[in-house]
C-alpha cells in the first residue's frame, strides 16, 4: 500500500509540473499583460512600465526564451536579481536555501506577490480558503447524503411513482446551468420574497470586521453564535444552487450502482434465507454498492474546486473562485499560477484518496 502511494505521488509530479509549464506559457504568450492598466495613461512612459514589470522579474512582450526565464524564476530555478541560474551564494539556485540555493520561487515555498495588490500570493489564497471550504463543505455533505438517500430510495422502489418522479426531477435539474439557477434563486428568494441575503458571506453592516481578517476571528472566538447565524443565512441560496444540480447527477449514479448490486445473486440468496427487507437492502446490497459511490464522491471533491467559480461569482462569495476570477481580469500572473498550482495539487491528492478509499472499502482489490 505504502509502495503504491509512493509510486502514485512520483507519477503525479511530472503531471503537475507540466500543468504549471502549460499554464505559464499560455498566460505569458497571450496578448496584453498586467501593464494593460497603464495603456491609456499618457503620464506613464514605456521605461516606467519596464521598470515596474522588472520588479516582478517580468519583461514586456517577452519572447519565448524570456518567457521560459520568467517561468524558471517563478519555479525557483532562475534568480532574476542577477545570479542567473546561480544563487547569491554561487550555488545552483534550485537547491534548498540551507544548501546554498536561492530563496525565490515555489521550490523554496515562495509563491511570489500579487501584481495587482502587492500582497504575498500565499497569504491572499489562505485568506480565501475558509470561505470556499465553508460553502463547499456544507454543500458537499448535504448533497452526498441527499443523493445517496434519494438514489437508494429510487433503486429500491424501482419503476414506482416515487422512482419516476425522482427521475423526472433529476433530468430537469441536471440540465439547468448552475449560474442561471443561482440567478433565479436570487430573484425569487433574495429580491421578491426577501427571505435570504443574496450576496456575500456576511452582513457587512452588522459584522464586527471584514470576513477572514484577524479582527473577525477574534470577534468570532469571543461570541461565535451571531456570526454563525449570519454566515448560515448567507449560505442558504448558494448551497441550494449547488445541491440542486449535483444531487440530480449523483442520485442517478447511486441508483444505478444500487440496482446493479440488488440484481446480484447474494441479494437473492439473502432474500431466500428470509432476511427482513431492510437487512437485505442495507447490509447486503448497499454495502456493496458503496464501492463505486465512494470513489465517485472522492473524485467529486476535486471538481468542487472548479465548480466554486460559477457559484462564487454569482453570489459574490469571497472564496478562491472569485479570487481567480479577479486574477484573470487583472492578468495577475503569479496569483493565477498560485491558485492553479494549489488547485491541481488538490485534484491529484483527491484522486489518490479515491484510490486508497477504493482499497479500504473493497478488500478484494489489492495494489502493490
Amino acid at each position: 500500500m505504502t509502495k503504491f502511494i509512493i509510486r502514485r505521488v512520483i507519477q503525479a509530479l511530472p503531471v503537475i509540473w507540466l500543468i504549471t509549464v502549460v499554464s505559464f506559457l499560455l498566460m505569458q504568450q497571450a496578448p496584453g499583460g498586467p501593464q494593460a492598466a497603464f495603456n491609456q495613461n499618457p503620464h506613464i512612459t514605456p521605461d516606467q512600465i519596464n521598470a515596474w514589470l522588472a520588479r516582478w522579474c517580468l519583461v514586456r512582450d517577452a519572447d519565448i526564451l524570456q518567457t521560459i526565464q520568467e517561468y524558471f524564476g517563478w519555479l525557483g530555478v532562475y534568480n532574476c536579481t542577477g545570479g542567473g541560474f546561480l544563487s547569491a551564494q554561487g550555488w545552483p539556485n534550485f537547491l534548498p536555501t540551507f544548501l546554498g540555493g536561492g530563496t525565490n520561487g515555489v521550490l523554496h515555498g515562495d509563491f511570489g506577490f500579487s501584481i495587482s495588490s502587492g500582497q504575498p500570493v500565499l497569504d491572499m489564497i489562505t485568506q480565501r480558503i475558509p470561505a470556499t471550504l465553508i460553502l463547499m463543505g456544507t454543500a458537499w455533505i448535504l448533497w452526498v447524503s441527499i443523493a445517496t438517500f434519494v438514489g437508494v430510495l429510487a433503486a429500491v422502489k424501482r419503476y414506482s411513482a416515487i422512482d419516476q418522479t425522482i427521475t423526472i426531477f433529476s433530468y430537469i435539474f441536471y440540465s439547468l446551468p448552475t449560474f442561471w439557477l443561482g440567478l433565479i434563486l436570487i430573484f425569487i428568494f433574495g429580491v421578491e420574497l426577501r427571505l435570504f441575503p443574496a450576496q456575500g458571506i456576511i452582513n457587512v453592516r452588522t459584522s464586527p470586521a471584514p470576513f477572514a481578517t484577524d479582527a473577525y476571528w477574534k470577534a468570532f472566538a469571543a461570541n461565535p453564535w451571531p456570526q454563525i447565524v449570519d454566515i448560515g443565512q448567507h449560505l442558504v441560496l448558494p448551497v441550494a444552487t449547488l445541491i440542486a444540480v449535483s444531487v440530480a447527477g449523483d442520485s442517478r449514479f447511486v441508483r444505478s450502482a444500487m440496482l446493479e448490486s440488488l440484481s446480484q445473486d447474494y441479494v437473492r440468496t439473502a432474500k431466500a434465507k428470509g432476511l427482513p427487507g431492510r437487512t437485505v437492502v442495507f447490509r447486503h446490497a448497499f454495502r456493496n454498492a458503496l464501492l463505486p459511490i465512494v470513489t465517485n464522491i472522492a473524485l467529486e471533491i476535486a471538481f468542487l474546486f472548479g465548480g466554486a467559480i460559477a457559484t462564487e461569482t454569482v453570489f459574490s462569495w469571497p472564496g478562491m473562485g472569485l479570487l481567480f476570477f479577479d486574477g484573470v481580469n487583472g492578468r495577475d500572473y503569479f496569483l493565477l499560477m498560485g491558485i492553479l498550482l494549489i488547485g491541481s495539487l488538490f485534484i491529484v491528492f483527491m484522486n489518490l484518496v479515491a484510490d486508497v478509499l477504493y482499497v479500504m472499502v473493497d478488500p478484494r482489490i489489492k495494489y502493490d
Binding site: L26, A30, I184, G343
Partner: protein
C-alpha cells in the same frame, strides 16, 4: 418488408411473456432478416420515448437556429427607446418582454440559438475527431507513445477545467465565435481519447482483429475499419455529453463577460447583463435565455440516454 407490430412501441415495451399478444409466426420469420449493427441501434433508439422527445426538441432548436435570424432579424447594436427603466414585462407585443434598453428578449433568444447550437455542434466535432485520433493511436500503438499521450490526458484532467477556459477565453478569445469553438473543442477531447484508448486496448486482442491481421490487412485499415466501428458507441454518447456541457460553458463564459463580444447574440450574452436588473424585478430578461439553454441541454441529455441504450450491444430488442 415492414413490421407494423414490431414498430409500435407498445408491442415491444409491454410485449413478452407477461403481457401483450404473442407475436405471430410471420413476424418472427421476418425478424430473422439480418440487420446491421446501426440498423438495430436505430430501431432501439426510435423506441426510446424520452430520446424521441429530445430529438424533436433539438430538431426544433436547430430549425430555429437556421431560420430564426432570417425570419426575426435582431441587431444587438440597435437600441430602441426604453419605455420603462427595467424593461417591459412580457406582453403580446414582446412575448418575452424587453431588456433595460428596450430590446426584444424574444428575438434575442431566437437569434441566440444559432450561436449556441453552432458552438455545441462544432466543438463536439473537434473534440470527437481529436479524441478518437489520439485515443486510437495511444491504444493501438501502445508503448512509449501511449504513455506520453496518456500523461498529456492526465494533465488535462488535473487542470481545474473552468480556470483554463477562463484564461484561454479571456486571453486568446477576443470575443470571436471561431476561437471559442476551438478552445472548447480542444479542451474537451481528453475524455473521448481515454474512452477510445480503453476500447482499443481490449479490442486489439479480439479474435476478429487477429483474423484481419492474419489475412494481411494494414494497420490503418484495421484501426478505422475493424476496431473503430465497434468502439464508437460509448464515444457517441460521450460526445452528446460534451455538446451539452459546452453549450452551458459558452453561456457561463459569456455571462462572465469573457466570451463572445457584445455585438453577437448568444444565450450567454443575453444573460450577461441580466443580473444587474434582477433587483428591479426584471426577471424575464434572465429567465427566458436560461430556459432556452436548459431546454436544449435537456433535449441533448435525452438523446444521449436513448443512444446509450440503443448502442449498448448488450441491450436487445
Amino acid at each position: 418488408m415492414t413490421l407494423p407490430d414490431l414498430q409500435s412501441p407498445l408491442a415491444l415495451q409491454y410485449g413478452g411473456p407477461s403481457g401483450g399478444a404473442p407475436p405471430e409466426t410471420e413476424d418472427v420469420e421476418v425478424a430473422l432478416e439480418s440487420l446491421s449493427q446501426w440498423q438495430l441501434a436505430w430501431r432501439r433508439f426510435k423506441l426510446h420515448r424520452l430520446a424521441a422527445i429530445g430529438l424533436v426538441i433539438f430538431g426544433a432548436m436547430v430549425l430555429v437556429a437556421i431560420l430564426g435570424p432570417i425570419l426575426l432579424p435582431y441587431d444587438p447594436l440597435f437600441i430602441p427607446n426604453a419605455t420603462r427603466p427595467g424593461g417591459d414585462a412580457p406582453s403580446l407585443a414582446h412575448l418575452f418582454g424587453t431588456d433595460n434598453v428596450g430590446r426584444d428578449v424574444f428575438r434575442m433568444v431566437i437569434n441566440g440559438a444559432r450561436i449556441s447550437v453552432t458552438i455545441g455542434i462544432f466543438s463536439m466535432i473537434i473534440a470527437g475527431v481529436v479524441g478518437v485520433f489520439i485515443g486510437a493511436i495511444a491504444g493501438y500503438v501502445g508503448g512509449v507513445t501511449d504513455n506520453v499521450l496518456m500523461r498529456v490526458v492526465d494533465v488535462f484532467f488535473a487542470i481545474p477545467f473552468l480556470f483554463v477556459i477562463l484564461v484561454a477565453a479571456r486571453f486568446f478569445g477576443q470575443g470571436q465565435l471561431s476561437s471559442l469553438i476551438l478552445i472548447f473543442g480542444l479542451l474537451s477531447w481528453p475524455l473521448i481519447a481515454r474512452l477510445v484508448r480503453a476500447m482499443f486496448l481490449s479490442l486489439r486482442e479480439a479474435d476478429f482483429v487477429e483474423a484481419a491481421r492474419a489475412v494481411g490487412v494494414s494497420d490503418i485499415r484495421i484501426t478505422f475499419r475493424h476496431i473503430l466501428p465497434s468502439a464508437l458507441g460509448p464515444v457517441i454518447v460521450a460526445m452528446t455529453l460534451i455538446m451539452a456541457s459546452n453549450i452551458v460553458l459558452e453561456a457561463f463564459v459569456s455571462y462572465l463577460g469573457f466570451g463572445l463580444s457584445e455585438d453577437q447574440t448568444s444565450w450567454g450574452n443575453a444573460l450577461s447583463n441580466a443580473q444587474t436588473v434582477l433587483s428591479q424585478g426584471n426577471w424575464w430578461w434572465a429567465f427566458f435565455p436560461g430556459m432556452a439553454i436548459a431546454l436544449t441541454v435537456l433535449a441533448i441529455n435525452f438523446i444521449g440516454d436513448g443512444l446509450r441504450d440503443a448502442l449498448d450491444p448488450r441491450s436487445r430488442l
